[in-house]
Symmetry: C2
Subunit: 440 residues, 2 copies
Amino acid sequence: MRNTQRGISPTSFFTDHYELTMVDAARKAGTATRRSVFELFARRLPAGRRYGVSAGQGRFLEGLENFRFDDEHLGFLSDHHVVSEDTLNWLAEYRFTGNIFAYAEGEPYFPNSPLMQVESTFQEAVILETYLLSVHNYDTAVASAASRMTMAAGGRPCIEMGSRRAHEEAAAAAARAAAIAGFDSTSNLAAGLRYGITTAGTAAHSFTLLHDDEQAAFEAQVAAMGNQTTLLVDTYNIEQGIRHAVDVAGPELAYVRIDSGDLLEEAHHARRLLDDLGNTNTGIVVTSDLDEYAIAGLRSAPVDSYGVGTQLVTGSGAPTASLVYKLTTRQDQHGNWIDVQKQAEGKSSRGGRKFAARRMHNDVATAEVVIADEQPAWDADHRPLLVQMVTDGEIDSRYTGAAAVTQAAAHHAETLAALPRDARRLQDGEPAIPTIFALH
Amino acid sequence: MRNTQRGISPTSFFTDHYELTMVDAARKAGTATRRSVFELFARRLPAGRRYGVSAGQGRFLEGLENFRFDDEHLGFLSDHHVVSEDTLNWLAEYRFTGNIFAYAEGEPYFPNSPLMQVESTFQEAVILETYLLSVHNYDTAVASAASRMTMAAGGRPCIEMGSRRAHEEAAAAAARAAAIAGFDSTSNLAAGLRYGITTAGTAAHSFTLLHDDEQAAFEAQVAAMGNQTTLLVDTYNIEQGIRHAVDVAGPELAYVRIDSGDLLEEAHHARRLLDDLGNTNTGIVVTSDLDEYAIAGLRSAPVDSYGVGTQLVTGSGAPTASLVYKLTTRQDQHGNWIDVQKQAEGKSSRGGRKFAARRMHNDVATAEVVIADEQPAWDADHRPLLVQMVTDGEIDSRYTGAAAVTQAAAHHAETLAALPRDARRLQDGEPAIPTIFALH
């Protein structure tokens, strides 16, 4: 698989053409080696959202390790006259040697939170733009939606099962982002292999339809998987399906799954029927185009687990986090730092290198504090948010691999719990805390 | 890169856990080798859309070639007790040996169009489900949105530049799907390398901000790229930017690009100013969160080219095509074919193997005709839609690789032109032609 430690493929060509032509032109102009800081941030959250969840850092760092140009890439760039010989030679040796600071993966974020800072020469930093944005925009979109879903589920386990509704590689990334935001397991085997996420699943309708009747299908499933399995009971008629399931699997059947109909009503019916049949310990899994609102709507239903697909992997209405990567400060020819920002209307950004902390009061967050240019001396009420993940090109292995996913999930749970109560409302509203561009 | 012919990685783990447990249980029950037909279709189009554009077939076939389980996969499945030893042995030898029929890539489609049929044993066909759906759901979503955009552009070239707003691998697939639906070029280098799509791009705001002033940036760009380039003129002030661009690049400057503000107004201003300055041949490229409606809104503006990003790669409101893959007919233990379908409410499908044709009248499509079970003798008014792409496991190379993309783009243009005029309305409405489940 592409992202496993061995056999990883180069990530350098997940890049826009113009990143390389900019490097080429800057090299000719003698400006390519000016020290620069690029920052990743969102100008706003998706409409109505109270917070976002930063994700993708680990995956980005794993890819950064292999952001290299091999002969195939260099041949393409040469054949298509994308860059000059000088730049080809530089690309052939490319290796990021700068520093990267970022929010911890799983951290809630708000408009203008400086989620990642890349500090290096212009040429080394600009060339990462497209890949860095792709990873963070997708993973953050999914983690942000996933967090609202697990919150709405109120402790009932959520299973990620949206692989089929996203690009195949995006699906694996979505499973990872969902795990960070509190999902219990995934259907996606690639995510299991790459990140150690628990995988789950038993059977689809086609399995039932393959067999001569529903009983035969359930018998085949129980024979192979035992009665600690989930039987899908809605291929023909849910009530009959439940009766068949209990007949075949007995009182120890782990779960029945319902994938259609009015889930609220069906869950109540199913619970009553299971109890009547003596299967009081058999749980109910519901799946069927769930989003955070549907999950919340099932709060009063006797549901034991939610399977979430389409809406998860498409960010529940916000399929990209709209993060941008902007040059905020760079040196001039004398080595002086010059803060820079685009000034055109509607897309302005703040120049200068940012420092950020979450202001806390009685263990509850009250503001995202962002300061430009000067590292403040944060007092005890401010939790600094940027951690160094790459030092002189050296990637800190604590932020990559399967262990990073587990750690990010714990960090997410902890930092989400410290947001004000308003953050946990699904209704449209303002960001849960304001972003303040000053310490006092 | 993963999808190039050499170095391609296995695709088998882009799969839901349950596909393998179903195979395992069916093998134990002796039902896994029943001949089966699975079909890919959409129950409906995204709300208001007049047609969809089928895409992903080529990419799926490229991945099918390498749908293999290697030691890493088998080790995972064994370690996690996903399937039994018998199934592990079968997976180790897995190779698809059946037949696949599909709509030509680029073909418009409608609710219940049978976009792909996989005919094989149950175990060989079911195991492809997740991967097949991931590829087609994403590529079809993008191609469907892209087609509306190129239609709205009315012949003005569209540049795909959404890579940063999608998962990095999805970005390359999006560029491919956009090319099929009439986009002229892409910013994505991976798509250039894999599929031979023309790549394009010059510079971003960061390049301007890297330099001491806008003139210095433009001089650096023109020195490297010549005056047949596109200068981005909205970093500080658009009017000043255009004056600087003309000063630096002269009357032969190819394009200026505007990425912010009221594009309609700015395009008119820019055109007048360029003309006043004598740059009557300098074109105007606009980019900035364009979708099909914004493109249509610029029809009267003096715009020469559109760069489209976020809305393209996220399917312009429909980030997945909601395609499903259903078992529609299978043999029983005696070899008789049994049509099957789920019967639960809201998600029913039609059993039986489908045959499909587009009914034409005076070169205009009037209906999508779908027949179950019996191959009809299509008359001259019916263009059959299903073509065989895989025969006894042998993939027809005409449907893969870069040449397939070019061919799909031509097929798309031709078949879209044959839809009734209503198909070309952006406003919400019904599918452009009805799907009829009978020949007469």
